[in-house]
Amino acid sequence: MKRTFALVLALTFVIGIAVFASNAQAADPLGDVKIKKDEPIHIAYWFVVAGPDASLGEDTKRGVEIAVDDKGGKILGHPIKLSGQDTGCNAEGGQAAATKLASDPTIVAAIGSNCSSEAKPGVPILWKAGIATVSPSNTAPYLTDPKRGPEYDGYLRTAHNDKVQGAVAAQFAFKKLGVKKAATIHDGSVYAEQLQAVFAEEFKKLGGTITSQEAVAPTDTDMRPVLTKIATGKPEFIYYPIFIAAAGHITRQVKEVTGLEKTNLMSADGAFSPDFYKAAGETAVGMFHSSPDFSAFAGGYKDFLAKHQKKYGEKPIAPFHAHAYDAATMVFAAIEKVAVKGKDGSLTIGRKALRDALYATKGLKGLTGTLNCDKFGDCADPRIAVYQQTAENIKKLENPQVPFWKPY
């Protein structure tokens, strides 16, 4: 009995592997996804939707969902099926989620991840399975670095490379505000640590002095001690490109610390969202944020906010929903471009073709600006502007409409 069992088992393998191997020949070098008539086009997100960073993933997930709604839930007559995996904002979560997506042959394209640490192990796994992914919120430079290696060929993002944004902030501080002494704070995240490092480097290059580079934990609430330490260096400018919770605490508490009452404050797109105005309240009036210049498309964003309110009963809860919306739009547009309709109502989507179409995205008008992908997958509008918060927009819990300063 055992022997028969083992034999059957072995036979199954052999046949299975044979069938698997014979399947491999297809028109697209990475294989095709065939979608029969009425079957859905499967798109998956991998975001952090559980744990302490859940609001980041929830927010981006909503951006994608609204993009699906705006598409009428259909591409080329096929319904869109959206599924998702939790990534937990850590490397192992990203790896597990990516593996799960990679094992599902029906997935056409992916949207994610949220944290750069997830993308590092996750993207190569997806690309091995021929799945291209567009991230709405990874900002770490190495993901689109020319030396990143071929395993990241399937990776694109609508979020800003830290290198661009950190440098703009430094130029703004030095050239526009004319400050000579600045301090930075990061929260130990890959994003913030990198941004402040770029800022500090650029600021020093311009001739400024960095009085101190401090760090807090994203879960810290009492920032007064660390701010007091910063105050001893008497900076004229504090740059803290961190996320909503900690940035809110710093903004509220900085004016309570002796010596920092008149210091200029600046944060980045990680805290450029209605939720931040809730967290910081009126104390945010007068501070600066760097973010893409979407003044030309502000109408679209207003519409988005109205839909968001209607669908979820609240304002966006983190900053990257618009980027997520754009990522989804990009994916939809690319699918429409490359999908081949069969006579029987089926669709064939080549994986390599889809990836190439994504990389060829040019002049796509999104909520965060015009999307143009370069050859390493950086698609965000490179025009970063600086905004100043006014009492009015804080009260309305809206982003300011008109940039305060533009570097270009």
Binding site: D59, A215, I317
Partner: protein, 353 residues
């Protein structure tokens, strides 16, 4: 009880004392270096102390809940951090409604009082239900089992509240009368910090006298000394254990509002870190010992506020505030090396459950 190895010093003792001594030496060296560099003025140090006291008194209030439960059940109530979260998170909606209607600005004290009541009621309710559902059936199980149900309950509550109220942040409205600062004896102190410190001290005094003076308090202490004997003396042990959770929950609810007044943001994950800190405080002071928990909380708050600047700045370590929790925990280990049962020692019956 058996905490000393009889008579002689073993090599491990020497290693232990070396570690402890080394850490103390580093701390003193750092402090001297910082002070002699003269970067910080007296004003800065006073600010550090006030910040630390305000933060510490909130830790202390939460820690009393931990310590009381530990006293009667000998278990770490891991879900206490969620008891702390549930009150102020729910009371936020009351505060927001008051704010929108203008009632908050018109009658700030009445609204604050009402917010306190709502928060304490919710936290108390959750603590009570927690004990009934997750702990009472396990009264005689091995002692790690309730710890696991506590962890499970903690997850469950966190994600239930996340589902109910959403995963984003909510921010308490500003209480205008608590904004700005007072100057007392030439020391500038933020109003709400003073209020938080005073409120915490008052609450702790009330709690302490309740436990020491009232019949229920005495019964609770009796139960924590010896359950069987108290049952024989006619004390309803189950009821007293419930009472302990109720009191601990009320203290956590009150601490939650103070926290919200001071930091404004509420969130489904807000309880986790203060919960761990408060438990550390309880251990630091000597677990099961209410004044110890209070002292431990204040000590921890001060260490987090002053420690990085005082000990690390002088040693030339960059971004010292990133290491503040490391300092707090190192201090904990140091205290426990020299006093294995906390600063004030533990007030537990000799018989271990």
């Amino acid at each position: 009880m058996g905490q000393r190895f009889h008579g002689r010093f073993s090599p491990t003792d020497i290693v232990m004392w070396l570690i402890g001594g080394g850490l103390i030496f580093l701390a003193i060296w750092g402090a001297i270096a910082t002070l002699s560099a003269g970067v910080y003025s007296a004003r800065h140090w006073i600010d550090f102390v006030i910040f630390g006291l305000a933060q510490g008194s909130i830790y202390a209030l939460i820690a009393t809940g931990y310590t009381m439960v530990y006293g009667v059940l000998r278990m770490i109530n891991f879900a206490h951090s969620e008891v702390f979260m549930s009150g102020p998170y729910t009371a936020y909606f009351v505060a927001a409604a008051f704010y929108r209607s203008g009632f908050l600005d018109a009658h700030p004290i009445v609204s604050l009082l009402f917010i306190f009541i709502v928060s304490m009621a919710i936290s108390t309710g959750i603590a009570f239900a927690l004990e009934r559902v997750a702990y009472r059936p396990l009264r005689n199980a091995p002692r790690l089992v309730p710890l696991i149900t506590a962890i499970g309950a903690s997850f469950f509550l966190q994600y239930t509240f996340r589902g109910l109220y959403g995963s984003g942040f909510q921010a308490y409205p500003v209480f205008k009368m608590l904004e700005g600062h007072w100057t007392i004896l030439g020391i500038r102190i933020l109003r709400f910090q003073l209020v938080v410190i005073l409120a915490a001290v008052l609450l702790m005094l009330a709690l302490y006298s309740f436990v020491m003076r009232t019949r229920i308090g005495k019964a609770i202490r009796a139960v924590s000394e010896d359950k069987e004997a108290s049952a024989l003396m006619g004390i309803d042990v189950d009821k007293m254990i419930s009472m302990t959770f109720v009191i601990g929950g009320a203290a956590a609810g009150a601490a939650g509002v103070l926290y919200a007044v001071m930091f404004k943001q509420v969130h489904f994950f807000m309880g986790f870190i203060p919960g761990i800190k408060a438990f550390t405080a309880a251990v630091l002071g000597g677990i099961g010992n209410i004044p110890g928990a209070m002292l431990g909380g204040i000590f921890l708050g001060l260490m987090e506020s002053i420690g990085p600047s005082l000990f690390l700045d002088g040693l030339g370590i960059v971004a010292p505030y990133q290491l503040k929790d490391a300092i707090a925990f190192t201090m904990l280990v140091l205290v426990l090396i020299f006093r294995p049962t906390g600063i004030l020692g533990e007030r537990l019956a000799v018989k271990k459950a």
